[in-house]
């Protein structure tokens, strides 16, 4: 969805330049929540303040909402259909593969090294085997990162 937004906002409408868009995208990606929605909120706010962001949020969420609502209404009736069930028996393992396949590349680009690989592994084990809520993992990761950063900074200043 991001390339589409970029084309519309930067090239077609010229609401912001490419550099501005990239800075904004960095912010939208580091904030929690749906990235496309975060992007829409930012662009709307920049153009027309609070009202603008309300409009862009609604505009970017509405098509998904309508499509999925229609699917939910129809699909719940067809789910037990023999043909639909056969098709989804094939699709389900493929969906799991689609989630698992990019993990290695994502880990590389997230800067995961042999020193830090224990963090995702620990997160997986806690969620998978101990049933820990991912929210606790997120909070622990933030706290852990800040504690590590603070200790590291102190060591750095000592060595200087």
């Amino acid at each position: 969805m991001i390339p589409l937004i970029q084309k519309e906002v930067v090239e077609n409408k010229k609401w912001m330049d490419a550099r501005e868009f990239i800075d904004m995208l960095a912010m939208a990606q580091s904030a929690p929540g749906v990235i496309a929605i975060n992007t829409a909120i930012f662009i709307g706010y920049k153009m027309k303040g609070l009202k603008g962001s309300l409009v862009t949020t609604l505009g970017s969420a509405l098509p998904s909402f309508i499509i999925i609502l229609a699917v939910a209404m129809v699909f719940t009736n067809f789910r037990d259909n023999v043909v639909v069930e056969k098709i989804f028996r094939g699709i389900r393992p493929a969906v799991v593969a689609l989630i698992a396949a990019p993990l290695y590349k994502m880990a590389r680009s997230a800067g995961v090294t042999w020193k830090t690989v224990f963090i995702p592994i620990l997160a997986v084990l806690l969620i998978w085997l101990a049933g820990v809520s991912p929210i606790w993992i997120v909070l622990a990761a933030i706290a852990g990162g800040i504690i590590y950063g603070a200790l590291h900074a102190r060591n750095l200043s000592k060595s200087i």
């Binding site: 909120i41 969906v95 997230a110 969620i127």
Partner: protein
């Protein structure tokens, strides 16, 4: 109580919107947990939503909220509540970030927080994948063959997710 389901949907999806760092696949893990805790749907039903999300244009977070909101409550209002609830934290956070953008740029605490967050998000996605490898989704050896083929084809990066899902759907129709 009638109103209870709406309150639960609101709180669950508000939490998902508030703590769902990393977008897309990372959010799956949080939604999965809420669905499991509240017993809103089976894991295979949730897998179907992810498949439908891949084939329709919108973001997975919005799609899941709309779908779960409808099926959990049986009403359109449930859809609206869940979708509104997942967007609301984004709204509050982005509007704050916009105002303090320059003050926050290069803020050391934010940078440190992401030292932990970035690798943890990989773990969230890994956990989501492992939890979906269950008996509902992997019913026999044929499921594992489809998984392996889809994994390899996806790993090469040459196949669009929609194409892979369609191929798996055709395979499912033929072999089951």
């Amino acid at each position: 109580m009638e109103a209870e389901i709406y309150i639960q949907l609101f709180l669950s999806f508000f939490k998902i919107g508030l703590f769902g760092f990393g977008g897309g696949y990372a959010i799956i893990s949080l939604i999965q947990h809420e669905i499991e805790v509240h017993g809103w749907m089976t894991q295979s039903e949730f897998t179907d939503i992810i498949a439908i999300s891949q084939m329709t244009p919108g973001p997975i977070g919005i799609n899941s909220a709309t779908y779960v909101g409808y099926t959990a409550s049986g009403t359109v209002l449930g859809s609206i509540v869940a979708t509104f609830a997942i967007v609301l934290p984004s709204f509050l956070i982005m509007l704050t970030l916009v105002r303090f953008f320059f003050a926050l740029q290069g803020n050391k605490y934010l940078e440190w927080a992401f030292l932990g967050l970035r690798p943890a998000v990989i773990g969230l996605i890994g956990a989501a994948a492992i939890l979906l490898m269950n008996r509902d989704n992997f019913i026999d050896y044929k499921s594992f063959i489809i998984f392996l083929l889809a994994f390899l084809l996806s790993f090469t990066g040459k196949f669009h997710p929609i194409l892979l899902i369609l191929m798996a759907g055709v395979a499912g129709f033929v072999i089951y």
